[in-house]
Amino acid sequence: MSGTFLPLLVVLVLIAAFLRGDFALTLIYLVVGALAMGTWWCRRALGQVDAKRHFNTHAFLGEQIKIDLQVQNKGWLPVPWLELRETLPVALAGPHSFQTVTNLGPRAAAQFEYFVQARKRGYYPIGPLTLSTGDILGLSDSLLAHSQAEALIIYPKIIPFASARISSHSPQGTLRHSLPLFEDPTRVFGKRSYTSGDSLRRIDWKSSASTGRLQVKLFEPSIALETCVILNLNAEDYYYRSRMDSTELAIVIAASMSNWIVEKKQMVGMVVNGRDPLSAELMPQSIPARKGKRHLMRLLETLARVEVIDNSAFGSFIQKQRYQLAWGTTLIVITGSAGDELMDELYQARRRGQNPVLILAGRDSTEEAIRQRAAVFDIPVFSIATERDLTLWMQGSKRT
């Protein structure tokens, strides 16, 4: 508001007092009325404006997301001008960020649409939308209102696996495995003649009757992939120069593994040593093992949101988590590097009957030393430096 407004009022008040009313009072009414009415109109009109966005809140990498914005004036006061500016995160903002000016009559609505590109996985707030308007005379400052931001989740990249060379010690599983420890009695793949020592339960009486000799059934081997993906996003465990790429690669690996396991109709859970902006304690909630596409979406949502964390020791994190996991669970541990503490935890997990597998994401100079240490504890180690390596690993699995 202008600095001469008060002096003008004071002069008019003095004149009104001196002349006992009349024209000075009329002028006071006019000037103050203009300011008061204008400000009231502006505030009230802005309070009646409602903005709603309609868009698909989940998207995969590379998709173009269309956002429909509907702005409605719910009141009877018109809005002479309304400036709309959408706040978009840097990762999604393109060259044409959404901003426009419109006016709304009484009970009128306006529709707009704009697009964002899903360039990077993450949890992004779309908005808030800033609405600004002002009085028609410009006597008071413009008013601002903000509509709530809405979340857009962009899932991480998923590289489809044909198979993965992951062993399991769980009995009564559902997938074939080349090095079986257990056999699945529901899967008969052949018969042979009875030899001394075979269990009587394996005798196939029908074929024995038809051949006249005792025949025993041969069962296929099996594994049960009740798996828990343990993803480490502690910054200190990744090589500092390629930290960003390595942690993103770790997330891609976790997403791809989870997708493969769910496709195989197996149960998979997840725990993440990272930061979840939506969680009250900022730590991602541990997701128990389940099956199904819906569960996979939940895993991908968590992976879309998680961020790197600092000073969160991975060894003690695993220690807290593995007590809650069942015997025989395969632990797919994805991290940047593995120190003694982690190795010890993985060994303890093996002793408890769990099946740890270590995947090193990104480049690490101590990889050879880690492999040697892991070999001592009989923990399989896979090193994936880039997404190309992940693809090759997948293809290598396919060939074998």
């Binding site: 508001m1 202008s2 600095g3 001469t4 407004f5 008060l6 002096p7 003008l8 009022l9 004071v10 002069v11 008019l12 008040v13 004149i15 009104a16 001196f18 002349l19 006992r20 009313g21 009349d22 024209f23 000075a24 009072l25 009329t26 002028l27 006071i28 009414y29 006019l30 000037v31 103050v32 009325g33 203009a34 009415m37 204008g38 018109p78 002479p80 001008w81 400036e83 901003q99 426009t100 000016v101 419109t102 006016n103 009559g105 306006a110 707009f112 002002g134 028609i136 005379l137 410009g138 006597l139 009250a280 909630q285 541990s286 997701i287 128990p288 389940r290 819906r294 569960h295 939940r298």
Partner: protein, 533 residues
């Protein structure tokens, strides 16, 4: 269109200023030709509006600029002087002309002329200031959008704000001038001994000018606001998606000003000025001025043709035949009858003083808000600190009193209820008060509530099922609350089987999760019932 409208509004505002000043001159120096002075000033304003852009295109202090401006002002000075002479009659005009020709320049600078010249200068500068600001706001898009100009200072006031300041500043000046037109200066000056007895007249005709000045000023502010916004949007390259923004703006502005005018005319203000009579006053004034100017131009043309006759000492044939040119007169307001009802006087006084108090408080608050230094100074002052401390003490005591009172009432009620329950008058209540439970037991409560409600809808927990197994079963039936079921289960397991302290915040989270699960269960029940129907 913007340019034409803004020029018309500037002209009308200047006409109001001129009208008011004319009334002041008439009041202070009745012998002067106030109407003529007003007409000359208006003519000057029209000239300034017309020549503004041409003069602006010239480089200041360049030869062309000096010549153009100098020629213009020489002409203005001569026209004013000759008009003032002509106003005294043709003979006086001829006498003055002959004196000037012979070099008697002392008579050229009469007091009336000097004051008129200064007023002309003021009108010239003021008109230019209005136009400069309007150009900066957006009339000259090239100037308004110039990006290669000097960096914008952070303390620079926007052009629209400066226009508001200018309009209000001139308004203050007009208000004071209007008061002066009501004061009988002649009586004051004639009785200089002792304290002057100030006599205030009813109306002087300047009120209309002052009032209409503000009306046109507000209209100009509306127009300039639109221009400044459009400039701002153009500068930031913000597209305008509405096709009728300008038209709607005009409609809303006119409606707003009309409503404001009606509201103001209805409010009590003593002897009110009728809106239409005021407008009629201005229209009459402008018509008179324009008619005078037309006649003046005709008279000047006739004078040019008569000059050879005058030089040879013969009477010019054209001028003798025409009657002397009547100077324009300023309008006078009719005297309106006063209100005599006492009740109405009381209402009016109450409204008047109430409105004044509200205005003063509002203005003070706005002033303090705008000047952060004053606010800081007030905070540092002892009196303010004492007042703040006193207020805090009062509110603290009030809160404590309220809390004690509610506690005492609650305890009293509970003791009455327990006594009545003991005597069997009231049935015993076995509701659990959640607030009385610690966080661990609260989590038990919510988990067991989930199990109970789930059991009521066919998802009974088997005795052999672990919490995780039950959670998996429940999630199949309520897929939308998977995360909440997991979090409430995990919290229950931790509370039930661990010895560590349970955070109250966790209990709140579990409460929230239970709320969502309960709603999901209720929705499921409703869907089942509607499906069964």
């Amino acid at each position: 269109m913007f340019r034409a409208l803004s020029y018309v509004l500037v002209f009308l505002m200047m006409a109001c200023i001129v009208l008011t000043i004319g009334n002041l001159i008439e009041n202070v120096v009745p012998g002067w030709h106030s109407g003529l002075i007003a007409g000359a000033l208006l003519f000057l304003v029209m000239d300034r509006l017309y020549t503004y852009r041409q003069l602006k295109s010239l480089t200041p202090l360049s030869a062309e600029w000096v010549i153009a401006l100098g020629a213009q002002w020489i002409l203005i000075v001569l026209v004013i002087r000759f008009l003032l002479s002509y106003a005294n009659g043709l003979n006086a005009f001829i006498a003055d002309l002959s004196l000037f020709v012979r070099g008697y320049l002392a008579n050229f600078f009469s007091p009336e002329f000097v004051i008129t010249f200064l007023l002309a200068l003021m009108a010239w500068v003021l008109t230019a200031q209005f136009l400069d600001l309007l150009e900066e706001i957006g009339l000259d898009q090239e100037l308004a959008l110039r990006e290669e100009s000097a960096p914008i200072r952070s303390d620079m006031v926007p052009a629209h704000q400066r226009l508001v300041t200018l309009i209000f500043s001139v308004g203050i000046f007009l208000a004071i001038v209007t008061v002066l037109t009501r004061v009988n200066v002649t009586t004051i000056l004639s009785n200089l001994s002792g304290l002057p007895d100030i006599e205030v007249r009813r109306f002087s005709g300047a009120e209309a000018g002052a009032l209409l000045y503000f009306v046109f000023g507000l209209t100009l502010l509306s127009l300039s606001r639109l221009m400044s916004l459009q400039t701002h949007w153009n500068r930031l390259r913000i597209p305008i998606s509405s096709h009728n923004l300008t038209r709607q703006w005009a409609t809303y502005s006119l409606s707003f000003l009309l409503i404001l005018a009606v509201a103001v005319s209805l409010l009590p203000a003593g002897d009110s000025l009728g809106l239409f009579s005021v407008l009629g006053t201005l229209v009459g004034f402008l018509t008179g001025i324009l008619a005078f100017l037309a006649q003046l131009i005709l008279a000047l043309v006739l004078l040019l043709f008569s000059l050879p006759f005058l030089l040879f000492g013969n009477a010019p044939p054209f001028i003798n035949r025409s009657a002397p040119l009547p100077p324009p007169t300023l309008p006078t307001q009719p005297v309106l009858p006063t209100e005599t009802s006492a009740i109405w006087e009381l209402i009016r006084s109450t409204l008047l003083w109430g409105a004044l108090v509200v205005i003063l408080v509002f203005a003070f608050i706005q002033f303090v808000r705008q000047h952060g230094g004053i606010r800081a100074a007030l905070r540092n002052s002892r009196i303010t600190n004492w007042l703040i401390l006193a207020w805090q003490w009062l509110s603290r005591n009030a809160d404590q009193t309220r809390a004690s009172l509610s506690r005492a009432i609650g305890e009293g009620w509970r003791s009455i209820v327990s006594r009545l329950e003991g005597k069997g008058v009231l049935p015993g209540m076995d509701f659990i008060s959640l607030r009385s439970l610690d966080p661990r037991r609260q989590i038990y409560f919510f988990y067991l509530a989930m199990v109970r409600r789930g059991g009521e809808q066919g998802m009974t927990r088997e005795p052999a099922q672990t919490p995780s197994e039950y959670a998996a079963a429940l999630e199949k039936a309520l897929p939308s609350t998977t995360e909440d079921i997991d979090s409430i289960t995990a919290a229950f397991v931790e509370a039930r089987y661990s010895r560590q302290e349970v955070d109250p915040g966790k209990a709140e989270l579990v409460r929230g999760a239970w709320g969502r699960i309960r709603r999901a269960l209720q929705n499921r029940l409703k869907d089942e019932r509607s499906a069964n129907k």
